[in-house]
């Protein structure tokens, strides 16, 4: 039973709107708001304010990033300060998570999902060229890798078995995603061809598989149960599709 006798404070109203309120108190606040129209009005006005801010400023995040802010350009200049894998990690942090602007409670537009794909492709391009440090946890520690990523990401992260397509798990790492962590898994064929699977929370419930390509890399992306998947690899669409199907079939099985 909720105890309506404990009055709701001003701080709690703010915390309620900002999703900072402990879950067990939310019911009390909702009951309070139903009984106190003035407070309900204020809460509503704060929500409208957030909508107005997003309506005004989200378009900035949709603009193409000006040339002078391109990460490749900035990295090229201060090269002497950064080295190899460390630089790659940092750059991935900054280049990645590009859809951080998808606010809580605001449904992702199609372009938001496409931005997630762009981030995944950026991470793909950065890490597939790494010889010594492509991953944080190697593929021979598969169980540990899955456990760790699942714990950090908050959904069931399974490294799919892609042996049927000639791909072996190299390993994985954790990256910052749009609204939280992202898992990043790398696979390699005997000929050295590399594929990566990037997953992160996506606001779109489900989206069918699509293909995109940029700068010698291609990607198949889709979402399932609020998780976005991006499989990146060489631009060979048929090959990508073959691997993506295999990934899809396995996530469906484990997810369901």
């Amino acid at each position: 039973m909720t105890d309506h006798r404990i009055p709701v404070t001003e701080d709690e109203l703010h915390a309620y709107v900002d999703n900072e309120l402990p879950a067990e108190r939310r019911g009390d606040v909702e009951a309070w708001l139903a009984a106190h129209p003035d407070d309900a009005g204020r809460v509503q006005s704060w929500r409208a304010m957030a909508d107005a801010l997003h309506a005004r400023y989200d378009s900035v995040a949709d603009e193409p990033v000006p040339k002078r802010l391109e990460i490749e350009r900035l990295v090229r200049q201060p090269r002497k300060w950064i080295y190899g894998a460390i630089a790659a990690t940092l750059v991935a942090f900054i280049a990645g998570g590009g859809v951080g602007w998808v606010a809580r409670g605001v449904a992702a537009s199609p372009s938001a999902f496409q931005n997630l794909t762009v981030d995944a492709l950026d991470a793909h391009r950065l890490y597939v060229v790494e010889v010594r440090h492509p991953v944080e946890v190697p593929g021979n520690e598969r169980a540990h890798l899955q456990q760790w990523l699942t714990k950090r990401c908050g959904w069931d992260v399974r490294a799919p078995e892609l042996d049927a397509t000639g791909l072996k798990l190299v390993g994985g790492r954790l990256l910052p995603g749009p609204t939280g962590p992202a898992s990043f898994l790398m696979y390699e064929s005997a000929s050295g061809e590399r594929f990566t699977l990037y997953t992160s929370r996506a606001k779109t419930k489900s989206a069918q598989m699509r293909y995109t390509a940029a700068e010698n890399s291609g990607a198949m992306y889709w979402s399932e149960d609020g998780v976005g998947y991006v499989l990146s690899g060489p631009t060979d669409k048929d090959r990508l599709n073959q691997v993506a199907r295999l990934v899809y079939d396995q996530t469906e099985k484990t997810g369901g």
């Binding site: 997003h54 309506a55 378009s59 900035l74 201060p78 630089a87 940092l90 900054i94």
Partner: protein, 152 residues
């Protein structure tokens, strides 16, 4: 991350060139620093750099006469323009710390804890700044809207 930083900078600094300068300085500083590799949350850390750079910028501006941009450049094409200008104008009337808190929480979706770390203050201070900022913006929006309607 860059689109989100640009959005925050634009809302914080209003002028789009100034905003992108802030983002560029933030990125260059981040790339040159090694503090990052000791761990911690990169996203918060980038917002911290940008927030501090803007504070420094305003401090140096304060010694000179203040110029306010006449037009809010780049009005949003999708939302209604009048509303976009309203909220931008309301933001401009906030004191720096309150504006940063409001934007970090409401626009960028950061937690109170993260904002407290960014500003180097206790969570209670973040909450009181947020409450004051919301009350101020609400009053400012309600004060302006009727006037705009009359113009129409």
């Amino acid at each position: 991350m860059i689109p989100a930083l640009r959005r925050y900078a634009r809302a914080l600094a209003r002028d789009s060139d100034v905003a992108d300068d802030l983002v560029q300085d933030t990125l260059v500083r981040a790339l040159r620093s090694e503090r990052l590799f000791l761990g911690g949350d990169v996203r918060s850390w980038l917002y911290t750099i940008l927030t501090n750079l803007n504070k420094n910028r305003r401090r140096s501006l304060a010694r000179r006469p203040q110029f306010m941009p006449l037009l809010d450049n780049n009005p949003d094409a999708s939302g209604t323009e009048a509303e976009g200008r309203d909220i931008a104008r309301a933001l401009a009337t906030l004191v720096e710390e309150q504006r940063a808190v409001l934007l970090l929480v409401m626009l960028e979706g950061l937690s109170y804890r993260e904002v407290a770390d960014i500003q180097g203050v206790p969570i209670g201070t973040v909450m009181s700044r947020l409450a004051r900022a919301r009350a101020h913006v609400k009053a400012s929006l309600e004060g302006e809207r009727p006037a705009l309607r009359r113009v129409k």
